[in-house]
């Protein structure tokens, strides 16, 4: 299997599943303005997913469409990080997830813009502005919650307790990343993780959030191992395509 295909897929799968999760909130946000903002972020994710799936399909070379890849794989073929599938939870947790993911995507795309693969570089360039906005939005709220009142502080702390152990999976590697790295096609996942950690430390120091001391991280991301939540996401995501095979919509 072409490792660049898998790598592109892992980016697309993250975006799809983050977008799917986030869009559960649509119509049920805390303010109308936030409803719009979060839906916008979900839309950006789905747009990015579509673009990366299209490229992945091209790399695979089996004439598949972006929908085939998004809708018609089995659970273990999805290479997203488990963080994407973790439930929304309360608004503090939603914001925290978007924040963690935005910092990751910011470094990922900034680096991919230098990729020796022109297509990947172009896709990253296309997406970076969106991600910077997501970062601004989520970090602004995170600061508000971290410095708001007792309840919001506790909620941030609890969300962090829930989500932290899933952040490592963002940086887990698909097979063959080392080779891609040597060809300057992709950045080093280890380096991304360091950059990510530094940014989080800096931001958290400003916001007044303590970074968890535990370095335990959940395993299985990028390898098709998921949380128990994931199967239920697929039930809904894929239902129409599974129940009406081969139809055009």
């Amino acid at each position: 299997m072409n490792p660049l295909y898998k790598y592109t897929l892992k980016i697309a799968d993250d975006s799809l599943i983050f977008g799917q999760r986030l869009s559960e909130l649509c119509g049920k946000g805390p303010y109308l303005e936030e409803d719009i903002a979060l839906t916008n972020i979900a839309l950006d994710y789905l747009g990015q997913a579509t673009n990366f799936y299209k490229y992945a399909a091209k790399l695979e070379g089996e004439n598949k469409t972006e929908d085939d890849l998004a809708y018609l794989r089995k659970e273990k073929e999805y290479l997203n990080a488990q963080l994407a599938e973790y439930p929304n939870g309360d608004y503090a947790q939603i914001i925290l997830k978007v924040y963690f993911y935005s910092v990751y995507l910011k470094f990922l795309y900034e680096n991919l813009m230098q990729s020796s693969d022109e297509q990947l570089a172009a896709l990253a360039e296309k997406s970076i502005k969106e991600v910077r906005y997501h970062y601004t939005h989520s970090s602004t709220w995170l600061k508000v919650f971290a410095q708001g009142n007792e309840e919001s502080k506790n909620r941030v702390a609890e969300a962090l307790e829930n989500v932290w152990e899933y952040t490592g999976g963002l940086f887990d590697e698909v097979e063959g990343e080392a080779d891609l790295e040597k060809l300057d096609l992709i950045p080093s996942s280890k380096k991304l993780h360091q950059d990510w950690k530094s940014q989080i430390e800096k931001d958290f120091a400003t916001f007044g959030i303590e970074i968890p001391t535990s370095d335990f991280m959940q395993k299985g991301s990028r390898k098709g191992i998921h949380t128990e939540y994931f199967g239920y996401i697929l039930c809904e995501l894929q239902y129409m395509q599974r129940a009406y095979p081969g139809c055009t919509w």
């Binding site: 869009s23 303010y31 916008n40 839309l43 929908d67 608004y91 309840e151």
Partner: protein
């Protein structure tokens, strides 16, 4: 204030602006109508949101999300338009009108109390519900209150786009398998009559209309708008190859309009009373969302206060 002069003013197609003097009942009428319109946009997000997670392709999923987002945006414009009418006593602000809706004291369009049961319903909502809304909104572009009229111009553009999108969803189904086409037909069957009832009671049963017309808030009667909608929509259904669920629907050469069957007004009245398929569900969803997120607002206020203290320190 001279009431006759005001009438003359608006009937000469002049726009009333927020700071202008206006009759209290004009102000009240508008606050009620604009905020009800805003609530409809907001509650109207829910039946469609029911299909986001199951939308059958990436393109459709994104279009649906974007559409619902537009509706939230329309809600925002409309709440803002309503707020321009706040004179400190009539509760035209967003929070109090929204609260009134949650408490069942203010209405939103009854159409959103119907269930979105299949993917085809997403098409039918776009085609018929947005279609009916547009008929109304195009008329409202000419309404006498400036901010409302301008909000309508903005909204109408996006709604036409939504309507085309909905129609295109059905077109795709109707060109698909038999099962897909049946799905489209079922959706038409379920949404046709409710869509027609969106225009409100027959003129004979609509005593409030006259004042609205005099004030140039409303420009056309319920029945006229309904007729125009039917006349436009029948050929669209034909083009899809779908059958209208009305045996009495027939072109009247003399009137140059379609004749059509009696509307199921009993059902309409029931839904209006709270007895529709989803009245409770819609309100509960919005009430639960408010409860669940109430801490967010409190945290934001606490944060803002601290910032202010810092600045003032």
């Amino acid at each position: 204030m001279d009431h006759d002069k005001f009438l003359e003013y608006v009937q000469a197609e002049n726009k009333v602006e927020p700071k202008d003097v206006m009759p209290e009942d004009y102000r009240k009428l508008l606050v009620r109508q604009i905020s009800q319109h805003a609530h409809s946009e907001i509650v109207g997000m829910l039946p469609e949101a029911n299909w986001i997670s199951r939308a059958p392709s990436l393109r459709r999923k994104m279009a649906l999300l974007a559409k619902i987002q537009d509706e939230a945006g329309h809600g925002l414009y409309l709440y803002s338009a309503s707020e321009t009418l706040n004179n400190g006593e009539n509760g035209a602000d967003r929070d109090s009108t929204y609260q009134a809706m949650l408490e069942g004291k203010a209405k939103y369009s009854s159409i959103f109390n119907y269930a979105a049961l299949s993917w085809a319903d997403i098409g039918a909502i776009g085609w018929l519900v947005d279609g009916a809304a547009i008929m109304n909104q195009v008329m409202l572009m000419g309404n006498s209150y400036g901010p409302y009229s301008r909000a309508m111009v903005k909204i109408c553009k996006e709604e036409s786009f939504h309507q085309r999108q909905g129609y295109e969803i059905l077109m795709t189904l109707c060109r698909g398998t038999k099962e897909q086409k049946d799905m489209a037909q079922d959706a038409l069957n379920r949404f046709w009559w409710p869509a027609l009832m969106m225009f409100g009671p027959n003129d004979a049963d609509s005593p409030n209309s006259k004042k609205s017309m005099d004030y140039r808030v409303k420009r056309e009667s319920n029945d006229d708008l309904r007729q125009r909608f039917i006349d436009v929509t029948v050929s669209q259904a034909e083009f899809l190859g779908l059958k209208m669920p009305d045996e009495n629907l027939v072109w009247n050469e003399e009137r140059q309009h379609y004749d059509f069957g009696d509307l199921p007004w009993d059902e309409f009245m029931e839904v209006l009373k709270g007895n529709g398929p989803c009245n409770k569900k819609r309100l509960k969803t919005k009430i639960d969302a408010q409860k669940e997120h109430s801490w967010v607002k409190e945290a934001a206020i606490a944060f803002a206060e601290k910032q202010e203290e810092l600045v003032n320190a």
